[in-house]
Symmetry: C2
Subunit: 242 residues, 2 copies
């Protein structure tokens, strides 16, 4: 999947945001997940110093943000508009949980522009705004307190879409050089010798001690370097005490 | 899965947070996803009016938050501590992407207390703090700007864990009464009659028009009420114009 192209096709639309700080925080949330197309419908105050402050390293998104008078204009040539709501609605579209909606949304974004639409902090999306959307997405939340902050909702939505699009691979595992079976077996032989010599393991009554040791170290998956220092430690233990 | 029990077993630990506002926002993020056990290690300022303001409806979490001097004390009797980092580390544990870590984490939380550990806003987790954790979790992010706000990271982590635990069912679909096949067929017959009468459909050259109509309405999945008003509309079209 062409993940960067897919993310570039996703617009985040904030309709009638009241608090400029939320615009800045939303821009930061978007950028951390690789989105850049921010659109504002009739913001109460924009540009605004508080938005700039909270955008942190995502000032460029604010500088390129486009302001529209109506949601219809902001959607532009989108082929799919998804409204976000914290609750289902009696009328309108059946709500889809974000996790179920994300794969469909990513598929749509690979074909054309898609808009994720977030309403006002206090009132959410109006019925008129929802009528401009084809889907209603819901972030499942605590029914006793489902009030995600606007930028937090944008963060979760962008995270889910970016993760579904596999946009960013997690950091690579640190370089590991696993020990060979031969090295591990030499370690176990050394360990057994040392345990016998110390009196901890009685060859006449082994109590499955070596079996337990093998199971433990198998779970850990020994590295070559670790075998080396474990054997160094055993050698130190084997030295006669003064 | 006993989701509420699982979430109750998850502690969110903020280590050395600098900005009290972030503590409040993190509490709000936690509560929206059903978490309540907030622990703070050496916060710069707590309690704090700014934390209260940003907690919004999650003031109770701040009131019950516990403050510790060291991370070890905050972890308490946790059986698993997961450190969050925006980057992999050379030493320490191999990082796991949050989505892959979540099922393991939920499984662990069904057995005993689990801690999700977040470091200072600027410096993240120190190596000493990471050494207290068994795993390192990473929220995959834009490599050009991976700087999630602290509360945003808490929101995403809590969302992922709650969703994986299926803690909250999405809102139920609005009540729908689908039309019966009989009703739908009667509608198609009506539609065909009206199209022929209007001259739009020429029975001698049908151009697969009815087939296309059937495909369209099959996708939509007609409800009984919709069939009723569609047929009402057809009846209105059929009336001779004045």
């Amino acid at each position: 999947m062409d993940a960067p192209g897919t993310l570039a096709n996703v617009r985040i639309v904030l309709s009638r945001p009241s608090h400029p700080g939320n615009i800045g925080s939303a821009a930061r949330a978007m950028k951390t997940m690789g989105f850049s197309d921010l659109r504002l419908v009739a913001p109460r105050s924009f540009p605004d110093a508080q938005a700039d402050a909270l955008a942190s390293g995502a000032l460029d998104l604010l500088q390129h943000a486009r302001v529209f008078e109506t949601l219809g204009e902001a959607l532009g040539d989108a082929v799919l508009a998804v409204g976000f709501s914290s609750r289902g609605r009696d009328l309108s579209h059946p709500p889809r949980a974000l996790r179920e909606a994300a794969p469909l949304l990513v598929a749509a974004a690979s074909a054309g522009p898609v808009a994720l639409v977030f309403g006002n902090e206090t009132f959410g999306l109006t019925n008129e705004e929802l009528a401009c959307c084809q889907w209603l997405a819901v972030i499942p939340a605590n029914p006793a307190y489902a009030s995600l902050n606007l930028a937090a909702a944008v963060q979760v939505a962008c995270y889910e879409v970016a993760t579904t699009a596999a946009a960013f691979t997690p950091p690579p595992e640190p370089e590991r050089t696993p020990a060979t079976v031969e090295e591990v077996e030499a370690f176990f032989a050394h360990l057994e010798r040392a345990m016998v010599a110390s009196g901890f393991l009685d060859p006449a009554m082994p109590k499955r001690l070596m079996e337990r040791m093998r199971r433990l170290f198998a779970r850990a998956g020994l590295e070559r370097e670790e075998v080396r220092f474990l054997r160094g430690m055993l050698a130190a233990f084997e030295k006669p005490r003064r």
